[in-house]
Amino acid sequence: MSTRIQASTRDLEGPLLELTDVSTHFRTPRGLVRAVDGVSFTLERGKALGIVGESGSGKTILSRSIMGLLPPRGTVRGGSIKFEGREIGNLDRKAMRGVWGKEMAMIFQDPMTSLNPVMKIGKQIAEPLQIHLGMNKQLAWATAERLLQDVRIPEAKRRLDQYPHEMSGGMRQRVMIAIALACGPTALFADEPTTALDVTVQAQILDLLGEQRRDRNMSLILVTHDLGVVAGHTDEIAVMYGGKLVEKASTKGLFANMKMPYTEALLQSIPKLDDPSHTRLNAIAGRPPDLVNPPKGCRFAPRCPYASDKCINEEPPLVPTAEDPNHLYACWYPVGSTEYHEAKRRLAEPTDGLATATAAL
């Protein structure tokens, strides 16, 4: 268990990341919280995957489970996570240390709290270089300077000697990216990398991430609640709800032909520029499911406007669509099906009891 993963065991062919039935549960006083429940997918090298869902959908826990960054106490992990062909799902933190920073790196949500306030920027970037690549201090700092240039920070040399509080939020997020890129990881996890930033800075950071990903042939896992963020910056999208994978497709495929009513609802909750003014934003009614006692059937059923008895009682399997075998979804009555249209029509009618009754007669 404690043996470090050797570079020689790396499998340079095949998918980068292969998840089979991954689950992460937390023991709490209330009971077992099934934060991630039976998620499977694969990610090819150099691709960008967006994991999308509301807060509480398990997307952040999933990304941290893959990295093995969760506190070991009270956490129950299951399933198999293969990274470059090696099983890492059952490794402890000690064994993962050789992977962290070197092959997998992470960018956190809030750049204000994610950098060590009492350590110089240069040292924070140089640290993984010295640990993983055995660089001496001089070389590590020189490399750090180049990394700062890579992430478009002006006056990189001067910045190395600064502390995080001397920089703006966007600048700090660039430093975070520089730290993550330092050792040339093959997979980069970005957990809501732009949520805490100004709108104008958001696009810059996302573009920077995309550019660096292409330059370095690195896989990117972009975790966000915002379908708009993943739309232009990913190859594939995985939608999560209640700890489960509910839809996965190529980005194009998903936006062209979304199957899950939840995905649809997520999209409708985003304001668009070309909407006429005063268009109502469609927030999703209700709350994410309780993950200690999840709903019996489809987990979205209690909030789904199109749900039927079947949805409430039977859990839909993850199945491919007829057109595209790589487009998976888990819904009994997907968007576009006859039942969906019927339900939609029902909803559109005035909820006048008498009228409905008459129509039924």
Binding site: M67, L69, R93, R97, G98, V99, W100, G101, K102, A105, M106, F108, Q109, D110, T113, S114, L115, N116, P117, V118, M119, E127, P128, I131, H132, Y163, H165, E166, M176, I179, C183
Partner: protein, 333 residues
């Protein structure tokens, strides 16, 4: 720099007010002319000597003048004369200071050496058995005043007692001498340790407990910060995460308490020196206060207050060393 000068001024004001207040307090109830001198010299002194002493220390002038001349004396090394002990106050303090300095130094150093690893490890293994036992112990020792700990450690470590379990008799204690002798490390290290061990322990344990509690609390909070997770995600070893990334961010209360606890150490030293018959500044103060030895009390108090003030000034500077944000703010101020 400007900030530092401001603090220096502030602390000087405090020093002057407190030493002046001590002088007033020591003069309470000595209102008749010649009273202070008579008190200084003891009841049997003749009028001539009283007049002479009064003139020498200007004990008949108003308090501000007296204070001024006392302060001038302090700065030139003339701290007055301790009549009950027939020795100049400066020499008296010189003879006694080392014991107290050693006690205070040992207590602080050992308390830091005990508390820092303990607190860091407790925070790291939060809610584990180790943490719970550590927290329980530190809670108990925070609540043990020196006056309780000294007799109890005497009973356990100094008294020889036999505890019998059926046929088996366990002898504990008797490891240290009862009466403390002032032996310095450069005289006889072994004897020094024997004599100073229990008094030091009495001072160290509560101090270590306070430091541990403060540091553990801050450390637990720091370990939940994002930058600590990021450090792990960079592949930094847990030891380095704890000692390099988290510790420096958790030192604020800890460093503050090193300053604020100095008064408590002095209080503890007074009790400990009295209890173990160690001749230090603490037991000297007790004697001087009870015998109304005006100059001894005034000068010793002034030295102690100066120590407290200087240590707090250093602590204030330490904040800036530890945290660049504070440096930044002060540079702007």
């Amino acid at each position: 720099m400007r900030y530092f000068l401001q603090r220096l001024l502030q602390f000087s004001i405090v020093f002057f007010i407190v030493t002046f207040a001590v002088m007033i307090l020591m003069r309470l109830g000595l209102n008749a002319p010649g009273d202070p001198a008579r008190t200084l010299l003891g009841g049997t002194a003749d009028q001539e000597l009283i007049d002479e002493t009064t003139a020498k220390y200007r004990l008949d002038s108003n308090l501000f003048v007296q204070y001024f001349f006392w302060l001038k004396g302090m700065l030139t090394g003339d701290m007055g004369y301790s009549v009950p002990n027939s020795i100049s106050v400066a020499a008296y303090i010189q003879a006694r200071a080392m014991t107290t300095i050693l006690l205070g130094l040992y207590a602080t150093v050992f308390a830091v050496l005990i508390s820092v690893p303990l607190a860091v490890h407790q925070a790291y293994k939060r809610d584990s058995m180790f943490d719970k036992v550590g927290s329980g112990l530190s809670f108990v020792f925070v609540s043990v005043p020196a006056i309780v700990l000294a007799p109890i450690l005497t009973i356990v470590l100094i008294n020889e007692s036999e505890i019998s379990f059926g046929d088996y008799v366990l002898t504990i204690g008797g490891w240290f001498p009862r009466v403390g002798d002032k032996i310095y490390p450069w005289q006889d290290l072994g004897a020094h340790i024997e004599n100073f061990f229990v008094p030091t322990l009495v001072l160290t344990l509560p101090l270590a407990a306070i430091y541990t509690r403060l540091l553990r609390g801050d450390m637990v909070q720091t370990l939940q910060a994002d930058f600590v997770t990021l450090a792990s995600a960079k592949g930094v070893s847990p030891r380095r995460v704890l000692w390099v990334h988290a510790l420096r961010n958790s030192l604020f209360s800890f460093v503050t308490s090193i300053g604020t606890q100095l008064g408590a150490i002095v209080g503890g030293a007074i009790v400990v020196e009295q209890f173990f018959d160690l001749d230090g500044m603490g037991s000297m103060l007790v004697g001087a206060i009870l015998s109304k030895d005006l100059f001894t009390v005034q000068s010793t108090a002034a030295i102690l207050v100066a120590c407290v003030v200087v240590v707090n000034l250093i602590v204030d500077l330490m904040y800036a060393v530890i945290d660049p944000r504070i440096r930044h703010m002060r540079a702007l101020a």
